[in-house]
Amino acid sequence: MRQAIVRGDPSTYPDWFDGKRRQRPLIVARWVPIAMVGLPVAVLFAIVVYPTIWMFYHSLRDTNITGLFTGNHAYIGFANYGTVFSSDRFQDSLVHLLQYLSFGAVLQVILGCVLALTLYEVVKSNLWRTIILILLVLPMMLPPSIVGVLWRFLLTPSNGAVNQALLDLGLIASHIEWFNAGVSLWSIIIADVWNWTALPLLIIYSGRVSLPPAVYEAARVDGASQWKVVRRITLPMLKEVIAIAFILRFTDAFKFVDLVYVMTSGGPAQTSELPTYIAFQRGIREFAIGEAAAYAIIIFAISAILVTLFLQYMKRVMRAQGLA
C-alpha cells in the first residue's frame, strides 16, 4: 500500500535514504548569499584594489616615509615617472628583466617540457613515474630564501661544490667568479631554473597524460616517426597547456625579488637588479615611497599589457580548435 505524498510535508516522502538521515531542504536567510559573495569581494578589494589605487595616488606625489605618516606630501604630477624612466638604473633593470625572462622563464618551460615528455615516453611504469616526479618536484617545495642560501653556498667561487665539480671534470681551468658583475644575474637564473622548472614540468606532464591515446595509435598506423609524432601531434595538442605554464612563470618573473635579495642584493654595482627589486629597495629601504609606487605601477602596466596579449592569443587558439 503506497502512502499518499503530500507536497511540502517531508514526513510523507518515501524513505529513499533507508535509515540514513534525510537531507533537509536548504533554506537560508537572504543575507547569507550576499555575505558569501560580499566577503571575498571585500577581502579582494582590501588587499588588491585598494593598495593599487593607493599606490597610484602616491606615485603622483612626493611622499617619503615621514610624509607618509604625517600626511605631508604634495601633488607633483608625473615627476616620479620621469625620474624612473630617465634613470639608468631602471633601464638597466629592464635589460636584466628581459634577460631573466628569455633565459629563466623560457628555459624553465622548455626544460619542463622536455623532462615531462621524456618522462612520459621513456618511463612506462607508474610507480617509477611517480617516484621520479616527486624527486623532480622537490626543489619547488623549498622556500626561495632557502634556495638562495643553498645556491650561494654551492656557487661560492673559492671552494663551492659547482666550481669544484667543474674543475674535477676538467670543464674549466680556473674558478668561475659566480658573483662578479655580468655573472651574478646568471647565477640567479641558474638557481631560479633549478627551483621552478618543476612547475611547467608538472603542468605539461598532466597535459600529456590526458591526451587521447587513440590519436597516438592512429599515428602509429599512419607510420609517423617518434619525433614527428612529438612535433606534429603532441606539441600542437599541448599548445594551450604550454602557454599556461609560460604565463604562470612569466607573471611570477615580474614579482621576482626573493632570490635577488638573498643571493646578490642586486649587486655587484646593481648589475643583477630587476625592476621589482629596485621598487623594494627604493620604497622599503630608502623610504622614497612615491618613486617606489611609480616603479610598481610601471611594472603592473607592463605585465598587464603582456598578459592581456597572451590571453588574446590563447583565445584565438582555442577558438580555432572549436574549444571556445
Binding site: 595509435e217 592512429a218 598506423v221 607510420g223 595538442m237 580548435q321
Partner: protein
C-alpha cells in the same frame, strides 16, 4: 592486393581475450565480426593492426608474415571507434597524414585527398577542424584517412555505432558502395546485428572466451545458427529460448515447458530421436510466432498479453503462455490491449533445438 590470414592467434592479460583464433579474409571480401560488447573484437583488430603483440599465433597479409612487423609496414589501415582525429589539424591535414608520413610529393597528396573527400562528400569541409564538424562528418573524415592510405587490409572498428539512427543508416549504404573498400580484404567490427547482416559477405560471430562461434554468410548464420548464442545475437527481437523437456505422447513427440505443450514436427522428430536428448532449449523466432489469424495453418497456442508495442513497421507483443514468456510479432496496423487473451500460431518446422548444456544446435 592480398588476403588476410589469422592463424591460432592468442592474446590475454590476466585472462585470455583471444584464444586460438583462426580466420581467413579473402581479397575483396567484406567480413563482419559481430559479438556483444567487451568480447575482444577490438582487441582482435588491434592485433591485426599491430597495436598489440599476440602471445601466440601468426598474422599474414598476402604471403607476408606480419606478426612482428610494426603497424605502418603492415599495409593495413584502421579506423577507430572514437575516430581518433587529430584535433589541431584541418580535415584535409587529417586525411593527408598517412601520405605525409610516407613523404609523398605535395601535389600528389593534394590530388588524392581531393579524390577521397569528393567520394565521401566532405570536400566542402577541408579547412574545418574536427571540433567544428558533426559526428557523421568526423566518421567520414576518419574513413577518408584510411581510404587514402590505399592499404591491403581495412580494419573498421564500430565505425558508425555512435551516430544517431538516421545517419547510421545513411552511412551504412556508403560501405556498400565504396569500391575501394570492396576491392580489398576488409574486417568490420560491430555489435549491431543489422549492420552485420546488411554489410557482410561473411559474418563471424565472436563469443565468450575469445573464440569465433560461427563463421558463414549472413543467410547461413541466420537460418542455421550453430549455437543458441548465435541465434540470440542475430535477429531482433531476440529469439524465444524455451527450456523444455521432450516427452513421447502416444506416437507423437511433444516438448513440455510449464503448461505449454509443443508438438514436434515429424522431420525434427527423427533427428531428435537419434541424439537421444530429453532436456532441450527450444528456439522460436518471434517472426514465426504470430496471432493465429495471420498464420492460419500454424499450431495454436493460448496466452495473455503482458506488453504490446506498436513500432510502426511491425507490432511486438510479449505474451505469457502457460508460465512461459514469449515474444511474438504482429502485422503493423493491428493493436492489442495489455492483459487481453490472445491465440497465437506458430510453425513447427521453424523450431530450433539447442543443448541446454553448451547451447549447441542439436540438429546441425
Amino acid at each position: 592486393m592480398a588476403r588476410l590470414a589469422i592463424e591460432g592467434l592468442c592474446k590475454g592479460w590476466d585472462f585470455p581475450v583471444i584464444d586460438d583464433l583462426s580466420l581467413d579474409v579473402e581479397e575483396g571480401e567484406f567480413l563482419v565480426i559481430v559479438g556483444p560488447s567487451g568480447i575482444g573484437k577490438t582487441t582482435l583488430l588491434r592485433l591485426v593492426a599491430g597495436l598489440e603483440t599476440p602471445d601466440r599465433g601468426r598474422i599474414l597479409v598476402g604471403d607476408r608474415d606480419v606478426t612482428r612487423v610494426p603497424p605502418y609496414r603492415r599495409d593495413v589501415a584502421m579506423t577507430f571507434e572514437s575516430y581518433a582525429l587529430y584535433p589541431h589539424m584541418t580535415v584535409a591535414a587529417n586525411i593527408a597524414s598517412p601520405l605525409k608520413a610516407r613523404r609523398l610529393p605535395e601535389d600528389e597528396i593534394r590530388r588524392r585527398v581531393g579524390e577521397v573527400t569528393r567520394l565521401l562528400r566532405i570536400d566542402m569541409l577541408l579547412e574545418r577542424k574536427p571540433g567544428e564538424i558533426s559526428g557523421g562528418q568526423k566518421q567520414r573524415t576518419a574513413l577518408g584517412r584510411t581510404l587514402v592510405a590505399d592499404p591491403q587490409v581495412f580494419l573498421l572498428d564500430e565505425p558508425i555505432s555512435h551516430l544517431d539512427a538516421r545517419i547510421r543508416h545513411e552511412l551504412r549504404s556508403q560501405f556498400h558502395t565504396l569500391e575501394d573498400l570492396r576491392r580489398v580484404a576488409t574486417v568490420y567490427v560491430t555489435h549491431d546485428y543489422a549492420e552485420a547482416l546488411s554489410l557482410g559477405d561473411r559474418i563471424a560471430v565472436m563469443g565468450n572466451g575469445g573464440r569465433l562461434v560461427q563463421v558463414g554468410n549472413p543467410r547461413e548464420l541466420f537460418e542455421q545458427p550453430a549455437t543458441l548464442f548465435v541465434a540470440e545475437h542475430l535477429g531482433q527481437p531476440t529469439i524465444n529460448a524455451i527450456e523444455a523437456e521432450l516427452v513421447d505422447v502416444d506416437d507423437r513427440l511433444e516438448a513440455h515447458a510449464g503448461s505449454l505443450r509443443l508438438p514436434i514436427a515429424p522431420a525434427h522428430r527423427a533427428a531428435l530421436t537419434k541424439v537421444q536428448q530429453r532436456q532441450v532449449t527450444i528456439g522460436l523466432r518471434p517472426q514465426h510466432l504470430r496471432p493465429s489469424d495471420e498464420l492460419p495453418q500454424g499450431v495454436a497456442l493460448e496466452g495473455r498479453i503482458d506488453i504490446f508495442e506498436a513500432l510502426g513497421s511491425t507490432g511486438v507483443m510479449i505474451v505469457d503462455a502457460g508460465g512461459v514468456r514469449l515474444t511474438a510479432l504482429t502485422s503493423p496496423e493491428r493493436t492489442f490491449d495489455h492483459g487481453a487473451d490472445v491465440t497465437l500460431a506458430w510453425n513447427p518446422e521453424a523450431l530450433y533445438f539447442f543443448s541446454p548444456v553448451d547451447g549447441r544446435n542439436i540438429l546441425l
